[in-house]
C-alpha cells in the first residue's frame, strides 16, 4: 500500500513499502527546474544543483561524497523542466542516514564561493559534450522548438548565460526554488513507515515555504529546421502534440505511441529497420509536461538514405492516424503488464514513479491501479482518440550535411 503525508509547509512524502527487497531508494523532486530560469541565465538550475552538492550542513564537499560512499549510496541528479531531481539507492539500513545528508543539501547547501569557477567549468564541459552527441543535439533542439517557451529549454543552458551566472544568481535561485512547496520526496523499498515519516518530519518539517512567481509562456512555431553538421549520418527528429499524463486521454494516446514504437514488433522498428534496413536506431517516445504532452520521434541514418527514412517515418505517423489493430494492442498490454510487475524488483524505479505520479496527479497510482487502467484500454478507445487527434502539425529538425525535403502540408 502506498503511504503519503503532506507536512504543514507543503512538503509531500509518498512511500511504497517493498519488503521483499534488501534496498531502499528515494527520489526528491525540488521545484527548481529550468522553466524558472530567466532566459539570460539558462543553465542556472543545473549550476545551482552542481554547487549544492559541493558541501552542505556539517560536511564540506569531500566529506559529503565520502560519507555517501561509506554508506554505499548510489546517486544521480538531473534537471528537468519543472524540477531538479536527487535520486539515491542504498541498503535499507542506511536509508535514514542518506536522507539526513540530502536534507542538508536541500536546506543548508554551502554554495561555496571558492568553488564557483570549478562548478562553472563542469557546466561548460556538459555543454561541450552535447556538441559531440549529434543524436542528443537534434532531440534537444526538437524539444526547444516544439514546446512553447520556457517548457522546451535545455537544462544545459548556453555558453553566454553560463558565463553570466554569478554566485548571487545561484544563491537567489536556491533561496527561491529550494522550498518545501512543490517538493516531493518519494521513497520505495524496505522501510518502516512510521519511523520514516518521523525522520523526514524532523529533517524537513520546519523548512520554510516561499511564494512562487507565475510563468509566462510564448510560442514561436518553426515547423522545419535543418542544422548543418559534418557527420556520416543525418539525424532526424519529428515531434507532434499529445496530451499530458493527467488527461483522461493519456492512456489511449500513450498506447498509440507504444504501438508505434516499443518492442521489436512495433511499427517503426518493423517498417524502418527490419523491412528496409534504413537505420540502426529509430524510436518514438511519449513525453509529458504538467499541462501538455508531446510525441518525439528519432531516426539516424546515412545522408543518402535520410530522405527515404524521413518519408517512411512520416508515412507511418500518417498511418497511425488511421488506427491500430487489436493484436497490436494485445502485445502492447503484455509488455506493459510485464514491465509493471518487474517494477517491483526495483526500489529506484518505484521511488521515481510515485514521485512523478504525485507531481502530475497530486497522488500516486499503485501498480494494481495501473494494471487496471491498462486492462481497460481497448483498440476502440485508442482509435477514437486517434481519429480525433491524428498525428499532424509536425515539428521537424534534421542535423547533417544536407537539408531534407519536407512534404508540403505535412508540417
Amino acid at each position: 500500500m502506498i503511504q503519503s503525508h503532506i507536512f504543514g509547509n507543503g512538503l509531500v512524502l509518498v512511500a511504497e513499502p517493498m519488503d521483499w527487497l534488501e534496498s531502499a531508494a528515494f527520489t526528491i523532486l525540488v521545484p527548481a527546474g529550468c522553466i524558472h530560469e530567466s532566459p539570460d541565465r539558462g543553465g542556472l538550475s543545473g549550476f545551482t544543483c552542481e554547487m549544492a552538492l559541493r558541501g552542505a550542513g556539517p560536511r564540506d564537499s569531500r566529506q559529503f561524497i565520502n560519507d555517501l560512499d561509506c554508506l554505499g549510496v548510489e546517486r544521480s541528479e538531473s534537471v528537468g523542466e519543472s524540477h531538479t531531481r536527487f535520486s539515491a539507492a542504498t541498503l535499507a539500513g542506511n536509508l535514514h542516514e542518506a536522507l539526513t545528508i540530502f536534507a542538508d543539501v536541500l536546506r543548508r547547501a554551502h554554495l561555496p564561493a571558492d568553488q564557483l569557477e570549478a562548478g562553472r567549468q563542469v557546466m561548460y564541459q556538459e555543454l561541450r559534450a552535447v556538441e559531440d552527441e549529434p543524436a542528443q543535439k537534434v532531440m534537444l533542439e526538437l524539444r526547444r522548438r516544439h514546446y512553447p517557451d520556457p517548457w522546451g529549454r535545455p537544462s544545459q543552458g548556453d555558453a553566454a548565460s553560463l558565463k553570466a551566472i554569478s554566485l548571487d544568481d545561484i544563491r537567489n535561485h536556491f533561496q527561491r526554488a529550494y522550498r518545501p512547496t512543490g517538493t516531493i520526496v518519494g521513497v520505495a523499498g524496505r522501510f518502516d513507515w512510521e519511523s520514516l515519516q518521523d525522520h523526514v518530519g524532523s529533517l524537513l518539517g520546519d523548512w520554510q515555504p516561499a511564494e512562487r512567481a507565475e510563468l509566462a509562456e510564448s510560442h514561436h512555431p518553426a515547423p522545419y529546421q535543418h542544422l548543418s553538421y559534418d557527420s556520416n549520418q543525418t539525424q532526424i527528429g519529428v515531434a507532434y502534440a499529445s496530451v499530458p499524463y493527467r488527461s483522461e486521454d493519456y492512456f489511449p494516446a500513450w498506447g498509440a505511441v507504444g504501438i508505434l514504437s516499443g518492442g521489436m514488433s512495433a511499427r517503426l522498428f518493423t517498417e524502418v529497420r527490419e523491412r528496409r534496413g534504413l537505420c540502426y536506431s529509430v524510436y518514438a517516445t511519449h513525453h509529458t509536461l504538467p499541462h501538455l504532452g508531446g510525441v518525439f520521434c528519432y531516426a539516424g541514418t546515412s545522408a543518402e538514405r535520410a530522405q527515404e527514412t524521413l518519408d517512411v517515418l512520416l508515412a507511418e505517423l500518417q498511418r497511425l492516424g488511421e488506427g491500430v489493430e487489436e493484436h497490436e494492442l494485445e502485445r502492447l498490454k503484455a509488455r506493459i503488464k510485464s514491465a509493471l510487475i518487474m517494477q517491483q524488483e526495483s526500489s529506484s524505479a518505484r521511488s521515481g514513479s510515485i514521485a512523478r505520479d504525485w507531481h502530475h496527479l497530486g497522488r500516486a497510482r499503485t501498480l494494481a491501479e495501473l494494471d487496471a487502467l491498462v486492462d481497460a484500454l481497448s483498440s476502440e478507445r485508442i482509435n477514437a482518440y486517434l481519429a480525433a487527434n491524428p498525428p499532424r502539425q509536425f515539428t521537424i529538425v534534421t542535423l547533417g550535411r544536407k537539408e531534407l525535403e519536407v512534404p508540403l502540408g505535412v508540417s
Binding site: Q125, E131, S265, F269, E274, Y280, G300
Partner: protein, 412 residues
C-alpha cells in the same frame, strides 16, 4: 537461493540460480564466441550474426520472432563482446517455457541471403553511428594497438569495408563452427522451474552438434605507445588509455576492481577529485576489464581540447604516486562499501543476476553466489592491492587521443 546445473549429452551446459520469491525469470544463452574468434576475412561476423539470429528460423519468420517476444511482454535483447555473444529475455515466470522455446529456436537461424543483405545495411548504419559519436572509435583503435597480434585486438563491430565484403556463406561457416553445443551455456535466474528448463533444453537443443569450439588462447604481449588521431569537427578531446591488468581467472581481479574504484570511480575517487570536481574534465574514470587470457585497466577522459595534455599529466602523476605510496586502509574500506552495495543493488533483479551467473559459468565454469562475491571483496587486504599496483604498472600503457588536436604533449 539454490544453484542447480545439468549437462546435456551433447555438451550443452545448463545452470540456474533459483529464487522462489522472485517476480520474474531471466533466461539467456551465453555462447562462447566473439570478435577474438574471428579472422581478418570475417572481421565483425560475430556481431552481424547476432543480428541475423532474429531474422527467422525454418519454423519462424523474422516477424514471428519479434512478435512472439512481444506477446510474452519479454524484456529481451542480445549483445556481442570480444569473447561472448549473449541472447537473453526477462519474462514473467509463466512464460519460462515459451521464452526458452523461442530463444533456443532462434539460435538455429535460417541465415537467408536476402535477410543478410538487408541486415548488412543496418550493421553499416550502426558502424556509421559509432563513427559519429564519442569516442569516435578510439576505444577499438586503441585496443587494436595495445593487443597487437593477439586475438583481443579485434574489433567487435568490424569495419565498413570488411562488413560490405562479407558473404553469407562465410557467416554460415562461422556459425557452424562456433554455435556448437559445447560452446553454449543456458543460464537462468529468478523464479526458475529447473526440471522444466532442462526438459525444454533437451527437446530444443538436444540435437545440436556437440562440436569442439576451440579458442586460440595465449598470453598477450601488450604494447605501449602514444597516438594522436585528429578529428577536426569534434568539440572535445577524448583519451583512451589501456594498461595490462589481471585476467578473468586471476584471483587478483578483486583487488584490481577495488584499485580501479579507489583511483578512478565516477565519484569520490582520486581521479574524480583531481579532474571532475575541479571541472577540468567532463568525464574521467578508470575501470578494470577481464578476459580469458588477459586483463586491462582502461582510463577514459573527455575534456576541452586545451586541457588534454595537463589532464594526462595529472593522471600520470596520480598513477606515479600510487605506485610509490600505495593506497590507504580508509580508501580501501570506502571502496569496499561502494562495490558491495553495488553488487547487492544489481542483484535484486533476476536479470542482473543472469549476467553474473551466466557470465561466470561461460568464462570460468564457476558459480559464485552474491555472498561469495561480497566475501571475496571484503577479504581483500591493502597489501593485495599494493601487490596489483606493483605487478601492473598503470603508466605502462597504450594511449590514444582523438579530437581536434594535431599534437598532444606526452606526460613526463
Amino acid at each position: 537461493m539454490e544453484f542447480l546445473k545439468h549437462t546435456l549429452p551433447n555438451g550443452l551446459q545448463i545452470v540456474a540460480e533459483c529464487n522462489g520469491q522472485a517476480w520474474s525469470t531471466a533466461v539467456g544463452f551465453f555462447v562462447r564466441t566473439g570478435a577474438r574468434d574471428e579472422t581478418d576475412e570475417i572481421a565483425g561476423v560475430s556481431h552481424f550474426l547476432e543480428h541475423m539470429m532474429f531474422k527467422g528460423t525454418p519454423s519462424r519468420s523474422a516477424d514471428d520472432v519479434n512478435r512472439e517476444f512481444d506477446q510474452m511482454g519479454a524484456s529481451y535483447n542480445a549483445f556481442t563482446s570480444e569473447e561472448h555473444t549473449v541472447y537473453y529475455a526477462a519474462v514473467l515466470p509463466e512464460y519460462q517455457l515459451r521464452a526458452i522455446d523461442l530463444l533456443g529456436d532462434i539460435l538455429r537461424p535460417s541465415l537467408r541471403g536476402e535477410d543478410f543483405d538487408v541486415e548488412k545495411q543496418v550493421i553499416l548504419e550502426e558502424i556509421r553511428m559509432y563513427e559519429d559519436q564519442p569516442p569516435f572509435g578510439a576505444d577499438e583503435k586503441c585496443r587494436a594497438l595495445h593487443f597487437g597480434g593477439h586475438p583481443l585486438a579485434r574489433s567487435v563491430l568490424g569495419t565498413a569495408e570488411r562488413i560490405s565484403a562479407l558473404s553469407v556463406d562465410a557467416m554460415r561457416d562461422y556459425f557452424r563452427r562456433r554455435y556448437c553445443a559445447c560452446n553454449v551455456v543456458l543460464a537462468a535466474s529468478g523464479r526458475v522451474d529447473f526440471d522444466a528448463l532442462v526438459a525444454a533444453a533437451d527437446r530444443i537443443c538436444g540435437s545440436w552438434e556437440p562440436g569442439s569450439g576451440n579458442r586460440q588462447l595465449g598470453p598477450a604481449a601488450p604494447a605501449s605507445g602514444f597516438h594522436v588521431v585528429r578529428r577536426e569537427n569534434a568539440a572535445q578531446e577524448y583519451v583512451v588509455q589501456l594498461a595490462p591488468g589481471p585476467s578473468a581467472d586471476d584471483d587478483d581481479r578483486y583487488a584490481a576492481k577495488l584499485l580501479a574504484t579507489i583511483l578512478g570511480d565516477e565519484t569520490g575517487s582520486r581521479i574524480f577529485w583531481e579532474l571532475i570536481d575541479t571541472g577540468v574534465a567532463e568525464q574521467a574514470s578508470l575501470g578494470h576489464f577481464e578476459y580469458d587470457d588477459a586483463g586491462i585497466f582502461m582510463t577514459y577522459i573527455s575534456c576541452e581540447p586545451g586541457q588534454t595534455a595537463s589532464n594526462l599529466q595529472r593522471v600520470h602523476d596520480l598513477f606515479a604516486k600510487v605506485q610509490q605510496q600505495g593506497i590507504t586502509p580508509e580508501e580501501l574500506s570506502q571502496a569496499k562499501n561502494k562495490v558491495c552495495s553495488r553488487i547487492v543493488l544489481a542483484s535484486e533483479r533476476p536479470k542482473g543476476r543472469l549476467f553474473v551467473v551466466g557470465g561466470d559459468w561461460v568464462q570460468r565454469g564457476e558459480y559464485r553466489s552474491v555472498r561469495d562475491d561480497l566475501d571475496a571483496v571484503g577479504q581483500v587486504t591493502p597489501e593485495q592491492v599494493d601487490d596489483v599496483i606493483r605487478k601492473y604498472p598503470l603508466r605502462h600503457s597504450t594511449t590514444m587521443t582523438i579530437g581536434p588536436l594535431e599534437n598532444v604533449d606526452q606526460p613526463q
